[in-house]
């Protein structure tokens, strides 16, 4: 069961294709990562998903069908470019945004009070939004996104501007949303956080889907270029190894293109090297991201 299905979506501005034949699906209740370098087409993709932009080609199915006015109340979206009314008190700003999502005044009040307490903003609710710090505004934006308890939550760079304590709070909040059955789409450049939180990802570059799948699958796709070896003895020089890098008491052996990990293992055994550990080194998301963006990628 999918919360969102994007099928061959293309959106161009003039001659520039911001999204080029993109297809991927987001499962209901999962925490999904949408990644890509700046200008890759992530935001346009989200806007097509939310029917803010009409795609030039392709289809978007969201919460079981095309976007409707009623469905807007079931979706929470926090764009990368934050937006709140600056000249009105925080409390009134949340009340208005909540009411636009179909909440009654009483519901807005009850829910916003809970979130304001949790985010340590209760003492600032009467202040004008422009009087709040950047971090506080960021938290207020998150509250505005969650207030109506959406089924589908799309958050674009939710950690920017937050200190480690608040970053942890937002991480917990996103996990909590997933546990409650909310589908969460996380757009972020912070690969360690995506790796930590997401079940599956899609990586977009120049409008095209470059990678799509579970994190494990993707890391395996990019494995095979290095092995991790732990041994009490020094490692001999081996053909097919480009360089050796010490990593936390082990050695990471970077292999030449074409060299296979099984051949390295055979050579180590043949040379009588006592092995405590031998495993294929899986690249982290940062590494994969850089390799894809620098042109080594494959179209999913």
């Amino acid at each position: 069961m999918f919360a969102v299905e994007i099928s061959h979506v293309t959106k161009a501005f003039g001659t520039v294709k911001a999204v080029d034949d993109a297809s991927f699906s987001i499962e209901k209740g999962e925490l999904f990562g949408l990644l890509g370098p700046n200008g890759a087409g992530k935001t346009t993709c989200i806007r097509c998903m939310l029917d803010i932009f009409k795609p030039d080609a392709g289809t978007v199915v969201i919460l079981g069908g095309p976007m409707s006015e009623a469905k807007k109340d079931r979706i929470g979206y926090m764009p990368e470019e934050r937006g709140l009314y600056q000249d009105i008190p925080l409390e009134r700003c949340l009340a208005y945004l909540g009411s636009l999502k179909g909440l009654s005044q009483a519901e807005v009040k009850k829910r916003s009070e809970g979130y304001l307490e949790r985010f340590d903003l209760a003492a600032h609710k009467a202040k004008k939004v422009k009087e709040l710090s950047k971090g506080m505004q960021q938290k207020a934006q998150i509250i505005a996104t969650l207030l109506h308890q959406p089924e589908l939550l799309i958050v674009d760079e939710p950690f920017s501007g937050l200190d480690p304590v608040n970053t942890q709070m937002v991480k917990d909040l996103l996990r909590e949303q997933r546990e409650q059955g909310v589908t969460v789409v996380l757009c972020s450049h912070q690969m360690n956080l995506v790796e930590e939180l997401c079940d599956r990802i899609v990586l977009i570059d120049r409008g095209k889907v470059m990678l799509y799948g579970t994190l494990d699958e993707i890391r395996r796709q990019f494995s095979g270029h290095a092995v991790l070896v732990k041994s009490g003895a020094p490692l001999p020089a081996l053909p097919g190894v480009e360089r050796v890098e010490p990593v936390n008491g082990s050695y990471k052996l970077h292999l030449h293109t074409g060299a296979r990990p099984q051949e390295i293992l055979k050579m180590l055994v043949a040379k009588g090297v006592p092995l405590e550990r031998f495993e294929i080194s899986l690249p982290d998301l940062d590494e994969i991201f850089i390799r894809i963006v620098q042109g080594e990628g494959r179209v999913a």
Partner: protein, 415 residues
């Protein structure tokens, strides 16, 4: 669910909770009331008025003046002329001697043939046109006039002009001519044109700044995921329009109260007859004019990346409202039912201001205001639809610079 009402309510609450709104809403009438009160208080006491006058002009020295009456016209001074104001001299030489010695400030020579030529010569020691207030030639002329009618002051005043004119217009509709001799005829169209221009422009500009601010605050993307652009536009236009209308009604009420009060102060109300229908048409043309111009401004707000970029297009949009301002004195006052005034008041884009400038002049054919209102309503409907087409997410989220050409291409759906 239609969220227009939520947007409308929010716009009203946001606007009326701003101190600047109350400053302008109450500040302008308060300033007007204060001016009226001060002027009224001054006028109630002529001595005080004179004292205030002296503050600006300095104390005025009234020195005696002489006259040489060669025609033998002045037999006696009217009682109301203070003794010593005018001193008689038998000939020009003795008067000139008195002038040289400083006994008198000036002297008049009434020639023997005054009754045929009507000439009087005034001799002053200097040429000072700015000091003309200080001589009493007007009073001397009046003294001559009273003596010519055998000292009958009332008759003399009636010769100057009838005291009370009852004005009954028998002119058929469409033939009213403005009387340039009455300053109210001249200034009323100008004032009405100016007031309507500012009311409509002020309210419409409010919408432009509101939308531009939402774009600059980047809240617009959040709004677009909660409410559709057409409901957003409708809520804003109606909400800000209601506030503008209530503000205008408040000003009109206060202005009307002040005008009634001014009857005692400036003698204005007795000369200015604005019928009740004028107020009704005023509301109709304000609402329709606002709908047209607020929509055009909203479209501009949707396209322009910020308020500064929008300003260059604002002038072009408001031009049809500005044009009647140029004609307010020389067309609406002189020829309120002439071809230029008629065309401007029927053309929908200039009608809100032009028709309101024509109406106080009177004589407007009865079918002109409803026809102009219908044409304006149709235009408003059309423009709201055209602007709704511009009020799309793609336009609202773009940060492209705007030009007049781009604006009109978008308005006509060619962008």
């Amino acid at each position: 669910m239609n969220k227009t009402l939520l947007v409308l309510k929010n716009e009203i609450i946001t606007l009326v909770s701003r101190p600047s709104f109350w400053l302008s809403t109450l500040g302008i009438p308060l300033a007007g009331a204060l001016i009226f009160a001060v002027v009224g208080w001054i006028n109630r006491d002529a001595g005080t008025a004179a004292a205030v006058g002296e503050l600006f002009r300095g104390p005025q020295e009234v020195r005696p003046e002489g006259y040489v009456d060669l025609g033998g016209i002045i037999e006696e001074m009217p009682e109301t002329v203070p003794a010593g104001t005018f001193v008689a001299y038998p000939d020009e030489a003795s008067a000139r001697a008195a002038l040289d010695s400083g006994e008198i400030a000036a002297f008049y020579i009434v020639p023997a043939d005054h009754l045929r030529s009507g000439e009087i010569t005034c001799i002053r020691p200097d040429f000072n046109p700015l000091a003309s207030d200080s001589n009493q030639s007007g009073l001397f002329r009046w003294v001559l006039q009273v003596n010519l009618v055998d000292g009958d002051i009332l008759l003399s005043n009636l010769v100057n002009g009838p005291l009370d004119v009852q004005d009954i217009s028998l002119a058929p509709a469409g033939t009213a001519e403005g009387g340039m001799d009455n300053p109210l005829t001249m200034w009323t169209p100008y004032a009405v044109t100016l007031i309507f221009y500012f009311l409509i422009m002020g309210s419409a500009s409010l919408l432009l700044s509101n939308i531009s601010k939402e774009k600059e605050n980047r809240i617009v993307e959040i709004l677009l995921t909660s409410v559709n652009p057409h409901q957003l536009l409708a809520g804003k236009i109606i909400g800000l329009g209601i506030v503008g209308l209530l503000q205008t009604l408040l000003w009109v009420t206060i202005a009307s109260a002040l005008a009634n009060r001014s009857g005692q102060i400036f003698q204005v109300a007795s000369s200015l007859h604005l019928p009740a229908s004028f107020i009704v048409w005023g509301l109709v043309f304000f609402v329709l004019g606002y709908a047209v111009y607020a929509s055009l401004m909203a479209g501009l707000g949707a396209l322009a990346p910020n308020l500064r970029e929008a300003s260059q297009v604002t002038f072009v949009i408001m031009l049809p409202l500005i044009i009647p301002l140029f004609f307010s004195n020389n067309v609406f006052a002189v020829e309120p039912n002439g071809p230029i005034a008629t065309v401007l008041s029927l053309f929908p884009l200039s009608a809100p201001v032009a028709m309101m400038a024509r109406l106080p002049a009177g004589g407007v054919p009865w079918w002109h205001p409803p026809l102009a209102a219908v044409l304006l309503a149709l235009t408003a409907w059309l423009i709201v639809r055209m602007v709704a087409g511009m009020f799309r997410a793609q336009a609202l989220l773009s940060g492209q610079p705007i030009q007049v050409k781009t604006y009109f291409r978008a308005l006509f759906g060619k962008l």
